[in-house]
């Protein structure tokens, strides 16, 4: 079965455990998603499943997209995303539902989203450069400093980190803990911050690196 779900980022909040610890969480409205297409190695050269999310009115979609939904026999949705399946895994059928109950409490997930745009940003925000002290005779505070050596190489190395456009890129945050799953309301609560604005599209998938550990103490 699918190990990824599409969702919308809600706002952040905090929860309390019974022993009084405070946990920062992000609310994600995850799913329900519907399978609209199944791609097989024989037909498409690779194995994948296409998921649809966020029901839309017919008038807000173009005719080619509507035709795609019609062929699948699925109501129109705003978002379509593909999910790769490994060889040998069982593929779901067209029309199958993917719900946030694929995750459980204490599972670890990776969250993929598009980060907020920062516009043109300096090196301190963009690359985490240190900058220089604000006072004690310093004449520059946020500049990058030297960007090269001397008559050799007499140019700036390619890839030198400098100021420029920052944000609006796809970002994956790995190994975030699922704190709560509300299958009825299609809500996931994920520990920590995730990329993107409130209401932004996010993909939540089972963590590639960290597998769920037995129930933690406390």
């Amino acid at each position: 079965m699918a190990d990824m779900i599409l969702g919308r980022k809600g706002r952040m909040t905090q929860l309390f455990t019974d022993d009084g610890r405070c946990i920062p969480v992000t609310i994600v409205e995850a799913g329900p998603c519907t399978v609209t297409q199944v791609k097989t190695a024989e037909k498409d050269g690779y194995r994948a499943v296409q998921l649809a999310f966020d029901p839309a009115k017919e008038k807000s979609l173009s005719k080619p997209v509507l035709g795609h939904f019609k062929r699948a026999g699925v109501d129109p949705h705003r978002v379509l995303r593909e999910l790769r399946f490994e060889d040998g895994s069982t593929l779901p059928e067209v029309g199958a539902k993917v719900l946030c109950s694929i995750f459980e409490k204490n599972h670890f997930v990776d969250v993929i989203g598009w980060m907020k745009g920062r516009g043109t940003a300096g090196v301190m925000k963009r690359h985490g450069f240190q900058g220089r002290p604000g006072s004690h005779g310093h004449m520059c505070q946020r500049r990058p400093g030297s960007i090269g050596m001397h008559s050799y190489p007499a140019r700036v190395w390619k890839g030198k980190r400098m100021a420029g456009h920052y944000g609006t890129t796809r970002v994956t945050i790995q190994n975030l803990e699922v704190v709560r799953v509300d299958a009825e309301k299609n809500i996931l609560m994920i520990r920590g911050a995730i990329p993107g604005p409130t209401g932004g599209l996010v993909m939540v998938r089972a963590s590639k690196k960290r597998k769920p550990t037995p129930a933690k103490k406390g």
Binding site: Q14, F16, D19, G20, C22, I27, I187
Partner: protein, 121 residues
């Protein structure tokens, strides 16, 4: 209040704290775990700030311990806060009483509210 407030409902206090505002002198009962044993510790002082809404709301209490100012900030909805008891209420003219930090002794007194008797009864 937005559509996500519903999800927070279950983590709100089961026993709402009494109404209190900056300038009030309150007793805060805090559950403290020492090894296996659990007991209640009382922190009493003047409320100098309340901030935030929803689950993230908190308040700051200031008192003088052995001549040294001590401030503690408590999350309103923390299960560690057992109870709050309002001792006296004062007339104050601002929401954040940070100016008390710069004052000592008699100057830190606040004008008591006329309706204090109601609060006490």
């Amino acid at each position: 209040m937005d559509k996500y407030s519903v999800l927070e409902q279950e983590f709100r206090r089961k026993n709402p704290l009494p109404e209190f505002a900056p300038g009030d002198v309150i007793d805060v009962s805090v559950n403290i775990k020492e090894g296996e044993k659990e007991r209640v510790q009382v922190f009493s002082g003047t409320v100098i700030a309340r901030r935030g809404t929803g689950l993230g709301a908190s308040f700051t209490v200031r008192r003088i311990v052995q001549g040294e100012g001590v401030e503690r900030t408590f999350p309103v909805h923390s299960p560690k806060i057992a109870n709050v008891e309002v001792k006296t209420r004062s007339n104050v003219r601002r929401a954040k009483l940070y100016y008390l930090r710069d004052l000592q002794g008699k100057a830190t007194r606040l004008k008591e509210r006329m309706d204090n008797r109601e609060a006490k009864s």
